[in-house]
């Protein structure tokens, strides 16, 4: 069962469009998608610059190239559907609605960050936007995704206080090989939980190409089939065709309260992290994917085929996202670092005496997002 978007309007596009459902979306939606894609791209460029200036520490994984994945999949679900992902999470945070300021300040280790500077690049959390984290341990978040789906279904069926939801649980292709993921799939299949495991298959886990890391790399859907989970492969380089395939799939998982698996073929243009010499792939390979860049494809469509966007409007979006990201960097640079007393806060929801010999835990300052 698939439901059409509530706001579906007659398509202003030419009848020849290769797009189906997405072509029927209102202009405003597609323009917002373009803006989100461009915002993530610009944000990541400035993240790299800040990292190179040592303003950001730790491990930092750049999302450039994969932007269509989050924009297209989030576009197909509701704001209160739970989302959980791995450590390559800046795009998820921004596309879910986190402000560029909260995201950047987190990486700068500032109190105004989404986790008050306690999480960093790999651990983006946003309660108001139902983002249950960025998680640093490869594959571990997939069990959480199963639990979020369990709780959502419990809320709907047992407590009868919520609607039918579907949880989006993102992971890299490297996580295919973690035991946790297989346990999570088995439980999701066994209990029929509404969770969609979205493999952001960018072909590599660090320097290991997928063929060198997992069996049946040419057909990952077969792995899910073993757990009784419906699976599809989707090209993740074009946000609109991605949505066209993903939307009915997600609607079905929600309606039937069943799990799903998506092999989402995508590509990261940058190295694995900020310290990757990229000896394992060729420049030609990268260029081949860049020829199908989602921002280029969508802006071409909107400017030239659908003609819903003017060149001036496009330039305005570009200028706006530059301003927003620049502002987030300036904000983060000037924002105060966390108080040292924050070291001992948020360890326990209910602190009590004698929990530790090294200090007393207390309640923390209110999270800026709450």
């Amino acid at each position: 069962m698939t439901s059409m978007p509530a706001s579906a309007a007659p398509s202003p596009a030419s009848g020849k469009s290769k797009y189906t459902l997405s072509a029927k979306l209102p202009d405003a939606t597609l323009h917002k998608w373009l803006r989100d894609l461009m915002l993530i791209r610009e944000f990541e460029l400035k993240t790299m610059a800040a990292y190179q200036q040592a303003k950001i520490g730790g491990f930092c994984h750049i999302y450039i190239g994969q932007e269509a994945v989050v924009v297209g999949t989030f576009g197909a679900v509701n704001h209160d559907d739970p989302v959980v992902t791995a450590y390559r999470d800046h795009g998820h945070a921004l596309a879910r609605g986190m402000s560029a300021r909260a995201c950047m300040a987190e990486m700068f280790g500032k109190a105004a960050g989404c986790a008050k500077g306690k999480g960093g690049s790999m651990h983006m959390f946003d309660k108001p936007n139902w983002l249950f984290g960025g998680h640093g341990i490869v594959g571990a978040q997939t069990a959480l995704g199963t639990g979020l789906a369990f709780a959502a279904r419990y809320e709907y069926e047992v407590l009868k206080t919520g609607p039918k939801k579907v949880c989006l649980s993102y992971m890299g292709d490297g996580a295919l090989n973690q035991g946790c993921f297989h346990e999570a799939q088995n439980l999701a299949g066994l209990y029929s939980l509404p969770v969609i495991f979205i493999v952001e298959n960018n072909g590599y886990s660090m320097g290991t190409s997928i063929e060198r890391g997992t069996t049946m790399a040419h057909n990952l859907c077969l792995k899910a089939a073993g757990y009784g989970i419906d699976a599809i492969q989707i090209d993740g380089m074009d946000v609109m065709s991605l949505y066209d395939q993903f939307k009915p799939f997600a609607d079905k998982c929600r309606a039937e309260q069943r799990p799903g698996f998506v092999d989402l073929k995508t590509y990261r243009y940058q190295g694995h992290s900020m310290s990757d010499p990229q000896k394992y792939r060729t420049k030609e390979e990268v260029a081949k994917f860049q020829e199908r860049d989602t921002i280029m494809t969508l802006s071409n469509y909107l400017l030239n085929e659908r003609k819903s966007l003017s060149e001036a409007e496009y330039q305005k979006i570009q200028a706006d996202v530059r301003d927003e990201v620049k502002d987030s960097v300036e904000f983060s640079e000037n924002a105060p670092v966390p108080e040292l007393s924050e070291l001992y806060t948020d360890v326990y929801a209910e602190p009590m005496p004698n929990l530790s010999p090294s200090g007393e835990y207390t309640h923390g300052a209110k999270n800026p997002l709450l």
Partner: protein, 329 residues
């Protein structure tokens, strides 16, 4: 207050059942908890009362269902996850230590993890080294967790109810060897606060500190020592994190002698921590170096005589107490 005598396992069941009646967000998940009525009959009859949506059989998949519980807790449910044995929690270590313990901190206070993990801890009875884990030493090292270890049916019920209501992840360590133990439990509702030790025996010669099953050995030892004219304060810690160090210090200031009995290995154990904190806070009050009675520092053996030799017992405790009171008594 009306009381009756019930088994440890019944006390656990009553705690879960009463809390589940009170709060529909609570569910119980674990291996064999539902249709089989519990591998150790702790959850007997609960499937009948609450149905399969709230009493849920899990496959042998500890990392998976521990993680499922944590995700559900983040979302707002109040899971009770049963490990058939804490020995098997080792395959779920990443979920319970990284995700349950650190979620609140990593998210800057946005998402906590109100969950209870519970199950048998410590040597069961000739189960060999893989099945005889005492996890309190390992897990009490991790900030973000609370750890409760009841020693009798009354505490099992009162502490478990507190654990279920607590908004933080609680590791609740039971013992297969105690599930059939009987004790008086009130009919009326009660809870036991975390971080407050209880004085089981009163005496001015030695402070005996323990938690969980060995508390019972300490009481046997204290009874016997009394016949030799040695009177022990026996402190049952009830929780090791928080650790009621104030109660220990108060007792040591009276007795000036400390023996800690702990059923895990000695190296970096809870006993080590109790002794360290006591030295930090009451060094001048000690008339003898503190002594710990742990298991021997070897994998748990199978042979009955070896296993008995390995575990803390009344004899070892009596010997330790006599060594600290020395000739001054």
């Amino acid at each position: 207050m009306a009381t009756r005598v019930i088994q440890f396992r019944e006390a656990l069941r009553e705690a879960m059942t009463e809390e589940m009646r009170r709060d529909p967000r609570i569910f119980l998940m674990g291996e064999e908890v539902a249709q089989y009525n519990g591998a150790y009959k702790v959850s007997q009859g609960m499937l009948e009362e609450f149905g399969p949506q709230r009493i849920i059989d899990a496959p042998i998949s500890e990392n998976g269902f521990a993680g499922l519980g944590i995700g559900a807790a983040m979302y707002g449910l109040r899971p009770i996850i049963e490990f058939m044995s804490w020995s098997f929690s080792l395959v779920a270590a990443d979920q319970i230590l990284n995700n349950a313990a650190k979620m609140l901190y990593m998210s800057g206070g946005q998402w906590g993890c109100p969950i209870v993990f519970r199950g048998n801890n410590g040597a069961g009875g000739q189960l060999g080294s893989t099945h005889s884990w005492c996890v309190e030493a390992l897990y009490s090292n991790v900030p973000g967790l609370k750890i409760a270890i009841p020693s009798c049916p009354y505490d099992a019920k009162g502490l478990l109810k507190t654990a279920i209501r607590d908004p933080d992840p609680v590791f609740f360590l039971e013992s297969e060897r105690m599930l059939g133990d009987k004790g008086e439990v009130p009919e009326e509702e009660y809870t036991i606060p975390f971080g407050q030790a209880i004085l089981r025996r009163e005496g001015s010669d030695v402070t005996l500190v323990s938690f969980g099953r060995p508390v019972n050995f300490c009481m046997e030892a204290a009874d016997e020592l009394l016949q030799d004219g040695i009177a022990c304060d026996v402190l049952d810690m009830r929780t090791v994190r928080p650790l009621d160090i104030d109660a220990i210090i108060a007792s040591v200031k009276k007795t000036n002698r400390l023996v800690v009995v702990d059923q895990s290995w000695p190296f970096a154990s809870v006993a080590t921590e109790v002794i360290t904190q006591t030295i930090e806070r009451a060094f001048d009050h000690l008339d003898h170096e503190p002594v710990r009675v742990n298991t021997d520092d070897v994998p748990t053996p199978y042979a009955k005589n070896l296993e008995m030799e390995y575990l803390p017992n009344k004899g070892k405790i009596i010997a330790a107490v006599k060594s600290v009171v020395g000739t001054t008594v």
